[in-house]
Structures are given as C-alpha cells and as structure tokens.
C-alpha cells in the first residue's frame, strides 16, 4: 500500500479528513489515503510515482495530464482522486508491455511526433481512446480527437501522421 502522506513525509493535521481510495491503475489495484481535495493527477504522480502523467496548465486546457478513466480520455488535473475510487485508470506507463511497445509509441518515434516530450503521454492516451473506438480514422477525425491536447514544439502534422501510422499497424495486426 502506498500512502500519500508517507510519500511527502508529513502527517495531516487532525482537522483534515482523509479517505482511503483504491484505484485500478494499469491493471493493478493501488491504495492510498488521501485528502478529499487531492487531484487525481497528483495521486498518480506523487503517491503512485507514475510521473509520465504531466500537469501543464491546471485548467483542463492543455491535456498533458490526459489518462483513460474506465476507457474514456479525461484530464486528471481536474478530477479528484476520491472520484477515481473503484475505477479503472490507464496511464502512459501501461501502454507498453514488458517486451513490446504499443503501436502508438512506435508511431510517435517513427514519425517524429514529439520533441520535448511533455505533451506526448497525454497525446498518446487521447489517441488510444480514439483508436479503441475507430481503428480506421480519417485525418480530420484524428485532428478532432486530439483537439483537447496542446503541443508547442511539433506543430501537430507529425502527431497526426503518427496516429494514422499506429492505426494502420493495428489494423494489419488484426488481419
């Protein structure tokens, strides 16, 4: 069990209530004691040490903190950790298996779809949600699906290509 307050080395004062939450993260149940106001992004980053989920803007605009919540893409900087109690969460760390990259990860590298890498995990998670619903998206459908995620380095063109590259590979793998 990991406890947030073990991690940050301070006991909550007696007037701060604490809730125990159990979240299934990348297929594994993780438990922590949290303040009700703790953001889900911070639970993932600080208590569970999954620092691939980045916080960029705190206002749900940039999408760097995008994760899958029961399979749907959400921005974890504006969801509370307690809301995730009993739910399934997928983060970038769950994309690759021990031996193999996810086609999206391969596609992002192959098509030079990242530069500083800060927006990349959120981009890939948003794209994963799209491809799980639609394995044969048009360019416009990819652009629309990623329109909640900002990138300052690449200019999107290669990100769109990378998602289409992954879709093609995943289709080929199905056949």
């Amino acid at each position: 069990m990991s406890s947030l307050y073990e991690e940050i080395q301070a006991a909550p004062s007696s007037d701060i209530p604490v809730r125990r939450v159990t979240v299934n993260v990348n297929g594994e149940d993780r438990t922590a004691d949290v303040e009700p106001r703790l953001l889900l992004a911070h639970l993932l980053r600080q208590a569970f040490k999954l620092t691939g989920t980045h916080t960029g803007c705190d206002t749900t605009n940039c999408g760097a903190c995008t994760i899958l919540f029961d399979g749907r893409p959400i921005k974890s900087c504006t969801m509370l950790a307690v809301q995730a109690d009993g739910h399934k969460v997928q983060t970038v760390e769950g994309l690759a298996s021990a031996s193999e990259l996810h086609p999206l990860q391969e596609g992002f590298k192959q098509e030079h779809a990242l530069q500083c890498g800060f927006c990349t995990p959120g981009m890939m998670m948003a794209a994963k949600a799209l491809l799980e619903e639609n394995l044969n998206p048009t360019e416009d459908e990819v652009r629309w699906a990623l329109s909640g995620n900002l990138c300052r380095c690449t200019g999107y063109q290669n990100i769109v290509k990378a998602v289409l590259w992954a879709a093609e590979k995943m289709r080929a793998e199905l056949n």
Binding site: L95, F108, L114, G117, G148, C153, G155, Y156
Partner: protein
Amino acid sequence: MKLDEVKIGGMGASRRRVEDNRFIRGKGNYVDDVVLPGMLHMEILRSPLAHARIKSIDTSAAWDMPGVRLVLTGEMLAARNLAWMPTLSYDTQAVLATDKVRFQGQEVCAVIADDPYIAKDACGKIVVEYEVLPPIVNPVQAAAADAVQIRDDKAGQVGNKVFDWEIGDKSRTDKAFEDADVVSKIELHYPRTHPSPMETCGSIADYDRATGKLTVYMTSQAPHIVRAAVAMVAELPEQNIRIITPDIGGGFGNKVPIYPGYVIAILGSILTEKPVKWIEDKTGNLTSTGFGRDVYLKGEMAMRKDGKILGVRMNTISDHGAFFADAQPSKFKIGLMHSAFAAYDIPTAHMFATGYYTNKAPGGVAYRCSFRVTEAMFFQERMVQAAADDLGMDQAEFRRINFVKDEQHPHRTAFGFLTDSGQYEKCLDIGLEAIGYKNFAAEKAEAAKRGRLLGIGISTMTEPLGAGNSREYDILGIKMFDSAELRIHMSGKALLRTGSRGQGTGHETTWAQIVAHELGIPADDILVEEGDTDTAPFGMGTYASRSTPVAGAAIAMVARKVRAKARKLAAHLLEVSEEDIEWELGRFYVRGNQERGVTIQDCAMAAYSNMPDGMEPGLENVAYYDPPNLTWPFACYIAKIEIDPETGVWDVLQFVAVDDCGVRINPMIVEGQIMGGLTEAYAMANMQYQTYDEEGNIIGGNYMDFLLPTAWETPGFELYEVVTPCPHHPIGAKGVGECATVGGPAAFVNAVMDALKDKGVRNIDMPLMPNRVYEALTTGKDVYGMPPVRSGN
C-alpha cells in the same frame, strides 16, 4: 570496406531520436518528477495589483498553519541583501517586493511547507495591505509628462524611460530620402506574447550545510550562466554550486532568465536545510516570466520609381515591463533589431530605439528567435509589401530586384552585419512555383465569384544566428562561445558532453551524428550528456538557434582533435610514419595500400593498451569554439488564404516553406523544427497574444484566454529545401530552430492584407482575429494596437 555514412547515423541521416525512447514510455525526467528525501514545497504569493505601495504584510496566520516551515517576505530578503537581483540587461529586479509592487503577478511572499497544498493554503492566509497607485500599461502613458514614476527605487532614473539607442548612418539616410522618387511608410505594433512552453518553470534547491554544496535542479536553457549568476548573487563559491537541468518541457527563450522563484527556493533551502521544490503554475508562468515582443514599429522606405530601395528609417518603441530583463547580448539595447533588411541590398539605413518601463511583467526574451529578430523580420516584410503596393509593383518582383545576389556574399548590410552566403532568388522561385503564383489572379477572380476574398502573402527572412563571435557578443560580460568534450572509451564507444542544453531539439541524437561524421564511430555508440554543470564543459546554453552554429561546431572541432591523436596511434599500429597515413570515414590506412589500415576503434583500444613510448594515454579532448561570424540561414514562406467577408474568418488554403539552413545534420529533425516554428507563427498571427486592461490586469494569463492553436485549426505546411553550406562553419550548418517563427507571421499577415488591398486597408495589427478583420472590412480603416487599451487612445 567503405563505411556508409547514413547507415552509421552520420550527417544527412534522418536518424530516429534517441531521447524518444524514454519520452514515449512516460519515463522522461522533468524537474517536477525529481523527488529528494525530506523535500519541502514552495508557493509564491503574487500581487493582484499592477502598481501599488505595500503598506503592511501580516504573515502570522500563515506561520500558524500546521506544516508551514518558513514564510519569506521582501523585508527578510532585504536583511540578507537578496531583495533585489541583477537582470541579464544590467538592470535590477525585485525578488520579493519590499516597497512597491510594479506589475500584476509580481512575487510578494513565499511559503515553504511540507506539501504544496499546505503552501498554497498558507499563501491565502497572508494579509497584504496596499495603497493603489495609477498603473501604466503602454509606452504612451509611460512617456507622458505627468506619468507616475515606476522605478523610483533606482537612483538617477528620470521618468519611465529605459534607454534611447541608435544605429546606422543618419545623415546619409536623410540624404537618400531627399533623393527618393517615392517614400513609403508603415506603422505597426508587434503585440506582447508569451513563449509558453508546455512545462512551466521550476526548481529544486538542495543546500547541504555539511559539505557546503548547493545543488539546484532547474528548467534552465543556460545552466552555466545560472551557476555564474548564483555565485555572484548568493556569494557562494562557484565550485560548490551545481546546476542540473533535467529534461526540459519546452523552452523557446522563456527558460533563459533567472527568476525570483529560483533565488527564493535557494534561500529557503539554506534556511531550512532541506531541499525546497518550487513548481510554478501556468498563471505564474504566463504572468511573471519572460514574455516576447511588445514593440511599436514605425518606418519609412525611400525608393527610386523603378523599385530600387535607396534607404530605410526605423523607429522602435518597446515596452519592457517593470524591470529591464531582456535576455540579450549586452551591446545591443533592442537585441538584433538592426538585422532588418539584411537580405536586401540597401545602401543606407538608420534606426532609433526607445524603451520604456510599464506596469507589466518584465521580459523581452528572445521567444524562439535570435534577440528581437522576429520583430525585425516582421517589420521588414510588412514594410516591403507596403512599399511594393505603393509603387504598384508585383511583390515578388520588388523583392527580387532588391535582394542581395548570391555572388555579393559576404555582404555588409546597411546596419553593419556581414552576411555569409545565400541563394535568395532560388528560394523565392521555388516558393512561387509551389504556391502557383502565376495562376493566382485567376484563382482570386474565381473565388470572388463565390463571394470570398483571396490573398497571397510572401515573407522572406534571414536571421543572424550563433552569437557570438566573442568580439561583439557577451551576456553580463561573459563572452559568447561554446564547448564540447569527447571521450573515446577503449572499446571505441564514446561519451560526448557539451555546454549547450537541448529542450526537445534532439541534441542527444544529432550531436552523435556530427561525431559519427567526423570519426566514423556509429552514432548508436555515442552517448550524449548535457545539462549538469559539474560534468559538462562551460557553455552559454541553448537559445537564439545557437546550438548547431556554436556547440555543433565545437563538436566537430573536438572530434578533429581526437582524430589527430588517433592518427598518431594509427601510425604506431601500422608501423609507418604519420605522414604516410590517410583517413577515410572510420579508418586510417597506409598511403598507396588501402587494404592495410586500422579502424578508429583499433586506435581507441591502442590509446589505453598499446600507445607508443612517451605518448600520453587515453583518447579524449575538449574544444571551445568562438565563431568567426554569425551564420545566416534564409527562408521564403508563402501563404495563400481565403477570407469569408461575412465573418472575417480566414482560412489557410496553402502554405509553402522554402528553408535554406545550410547543411542538414538530421533532415527529419530540421523539418520538425520548421513545422513547429510555423505553428507558433500561425498562433501569433491568429490568436496568441497578451494584453492588459486600463487597471493593469493581464488578459492572457491562463490558457482560457491565452489561445494556442490545436491540431484542429493548425494548417498543413509544405516544406522545400535549398542548401547553401555556411562557408565558415566546420560542417556547413547554419541553424534552423527559429527561422519559421521569425519569418512565418508576416506571410500570414501579408496574405490577409493582400486580400484586403482593394478595401482601403493597409494594416491590421496581429493577432488577426476575425473581429479585427471584420472591423477593417466594414470600416475600411486600419486596425492598430491591442484592445482594450490601445496605445495612443
């Protein structure tokens, strides 16, 4: 057997990036990912007011909160002589305010606590009493005779002026205007904007009293400059200061300056004897750290009626905010603004520049450009288009007849720069062909039948990159050169360290390619490390597209030093004299007998196991590179746009980019840089700006109203390539990271203005939001300055 350079990941290989392996797994290591044992967290209380005197600060309720370890005020810093710090432009900046607050978002207090949530709560418990002063939000207000003085802390400061500065030949330029057949004029505002990398600024200061060592993890594009500055400000011995810059989540110039948060966190760690982490939130980043632009540009161009340009006058008025904190070479007060018109053969020019303090955030950083070159090129290309229109001349033809010709290089510009090389006409021709310039009139007429307005906009740019040379370029007196250190291990694998610091720019990939090119060691065998001042050689960092022009050159030079020693080892191994040794990629051989040779890897092993008598063991070296001149890439960007006159909305139909950045080390990365730069250019032309209301409240202080384009609205870009190798760079490269941001905006704006040419409109200042285009269309008048408080109103 001859090595295939592309196969070993040498020059010209679109090698896939090494750094991606960690980023795609979520295993990047950004400063907020770093956790040290016992670490505390810092939060900054910022001023809600633009201009106010501080009457009192009561921190007692904050101190009383459980988990709070330290509450810092300006007064406490002043007692340690740390309330003010030097800026990169020889001004001072408040670390925590003592007397007055001078812009909204200014740092007033800091709380250090066990947890970031507690620190934030405690900031809310601090009570600051202010006496409101009248705010100044633009240079016109700042210059008014009765304006309140913002910098009353500075002895000898008169009014709100920061500087007057001029360059060029005034009398000769005046004469050119007397002789002119036609004089064209234009007035523009390049709005304030923000580099806004995805990752904000932040640091972890870790002072160890037992060893006296201060380690700071921080998001800095120039870690060695920070080390030097900390040594000066904090009066710590330089050998005890270690700056570590982990992965940077985008910089674009925003992470060059030294911000109050870094200084406060260092003091916090010294006082608490624990590591102190400070991670800025997005609003903190947008409202208090280095902005870009905010310049009013006026200009005139003197011409003969056949279109030949005779002279140019420029006048700039720049808004620097509350502290003059431009990050730029010391000698130039308004950066390299005088690089304007470098691509044109103009006999004479003169520029007069004035800077003002206002109650706005300090900065004026080189936002994805080489020190104000963006403003210079924007002005140049808007002026050129207006002049062509006034002459009734085709805009492409007007550029063509005034371009510096290929054979004129090196060419002395009217403002005194020396360009190195270029093929300007060739780039223009490729661009015109690709956009279908010849058929444009027919296309425009066809669109008019559908009720749409078509426009075509050309923008060309050349950018002086790679500061220094050290004769002319320094920051705070430190000369601008760069460095590389190369160690070849006995197995022939290598470790390369440089004084630059990548920030998504692919250094770990491309630097290895330069070594592969020089030594024939496969790029995959070379580890590149940057960003730790304890291990990297001294360098001036990464900004102003200087990494490839300066550090990249240092890498080639250090590899050549290593090769020179390897040659001696080869002679020893082959038992011939050094003069009889020839080099081909990856191996030495005996002249006249190509079969008889040794590889660079054989030489590496010999350096540790079989060196000749009297030779120093090992195979490594360091090179410091001081460039003889700046490098001069060139680009031609052409946009074709369509306006819906019912709404003022404009769409990009086609965008063509022709870039000549010299020799391309990794074409894939070069193209990535261009596409990214064009997206930021599109952003500035279209939506991305900051402004202030009359009370000095910032508009554009979060991502709700500071708009960045997404994948949905960003247009596609067609890229073309011309290669003119840089004659004075060891591998012929010129740098490319910023060309598109510099040259791109004018292509969009010129295209919109071209579409509105018959409507009596000459200029709309950026951003060209639909309401502003609509206003121009319906009133037939120019749209100038930024709402809601337009300068001059």
